[in-house]
Subunit: 274 residues, 2 copies
């Protein structure tokens, strides 16, 4: 079974580009030449999103290694949106891209298993295992602790998949809980980082990174640097670059010395920024 | 605009029953007399789930005030499962039940807005606002802090809806993060409880409860008692009763003295157990 993070890094090396394109469709900014082909309702919106996403994927698949669709922007269009999500994942895979489903799921064990089935695992009906989204990676929320993450880890092992666990998120109020200092002097995001290290131990691939890795916001460069040091085996998915204010010199701190040397002119290191 | 928590409490009073039925379909335990009507694939599974859920709703709607479908168990069947989720919510509402969508969503502001659109808000296409699940309540994960919750609160105000925020979950490892003690001596779940109190201030209804309320596990009776005291305006959704080991005397601690008197023989108080 190929290790998911190895597969992602190989793809980044092949394209010589550590960027993942976020596909979070805003219906209102899809060009009219696409929207006007379809009805102005949920079904038409779903179809317009599929066409728009396919055009984007066509434009970038030869230079960008991965997409990260955020499922909320599909779910808001009901089943037509979910169909667009499925189609988008499928099309990107056909074009050889890695898909990171941004779902931030987190629940108790049995429910986490169901979420994992939908994203990186399989759904058994009778004797047949069905793939649903069948993406390579899914993002996971750690607030419920280890038993809400184990079902995902088991599917990572069984199907060669990976997860990115929220450690320090890019939004303004992320510190309200994540930056609280515990009685032993460590912040919550450090506690989560340590859990992620533990969860990822058995899935470290040929490049020294684990398929159980982390989300760390580009908007918090200090924490990015700190976490880079205490999570040597964690691959970082770094949202917040660009629209949210993260700069190239900020995200540089999340990269490390495995593989090619990072510099701001030539983004060649093996972590992903969005 | 009617306050969502008032609507729920009125329904609980009407049925004289503070129980919510969790609809987390397991395909393998749906009776063969239903399953055999449909194909043994994702589409057939979705249809079997709809029929099964409708039969359950038919059986209980006159004595139970609310359903709580857990979306993961639908999502694992792809778009057919999501259709079953939508149909289940719609049917329960037609039968006069309150629907609490157990989705545990949590993300940065713009994404939280999209999740809120899908569950309790609306999705705008052109000049028309479309309802998607259109449930009364949705569960929310607080790990990203206030700006991930505000979009839900805004929709609660605009559309008379409510949310239940995860404070202390019922699973075994919930304490790994939620029970960590901060440097000022307060546990993380207490910090979250205080945030929920703050978030809920403007949406307190006629019974003294807020439409911005909490999830507190039946499996942690001590914490239930503690949180009941520091969250006087929070309505408690108390999962973990039954299958997960929570007993009637445990959940009693989560009830309070507003309204009818609680006793274990006659469940007449205004909080919900699952």
């Amino acid at each position: 079974m190929e290790n998911a993070i190895d597969k992602l890094i190989d793809k980044i090396k092949e394209k010589d580009n550590p960027t993942v394109i976020g596909l979070d469709p805003r219906y209102e900014i899809i060009p009219d030449c696409i929207k006007n082909k379809y009805s102005q309702d949920l079904e038409g919106a779903g179809k317009a999103i599929i066409e728009f996403n396919k055009a984007l994927i066509d434009a970038v698949y030869d230079i960008i290694p991965a997409i990260k669709p955020q499922i909320a922007f599909y779910e808001m269009f009901g089943i037509y949106g979910m169909k667009a999500f499925e189609e988008t994942c499928k099309y990107a895979k056909e074009k050889g891209m890695i898909v990171i489903a941004d779902m931030k799921r987190g629940d108790i064990g049995t429910t986490a298993k169901a979420y994992s089935n939908a994203s990186i695992g399989k759904t058994k009906i009778g004797e047949i295992n069905h793939s649903i989204y069948d993406v390579e990676f899914v993002t996971v929320n750690p607030y419920l602790g280890t038993d809400g993450v184990i079902p995902f880890i088991e599917d990572c092992k069984e199907y060669g998949k990976g997860i990115f666990v929220l450690v320090k998120t890019s939004n303004k109020s992320s510190g309200e809980l994540q930056d609280l200092v515990t009685e032993d002097g460590e912040k919550i995001y450090i506690k989560v980082a340590k859990l992620v290290n533990e969860w990822g131990k058995e899935l470290i691939g040929k490049y020294g990174y684990s398929s159980i890795s982390s989300v760390v916001g580009a908007t918090y460069p200090k924490q990015l640097e700190e976490l880079r040091k205490i999570m040597p085996h964690s691959y970082f998915l770094i949202p917040g670059y660009g629209a949210q204010g993260g700069k190239a010199e900020d995200i540089a701190l999340g990269f490390d010395d495995k593989g090619l040397r990072w510099n701001c002119k030539c983004v060649k290191k093996f972590n992903l920024c969005i």
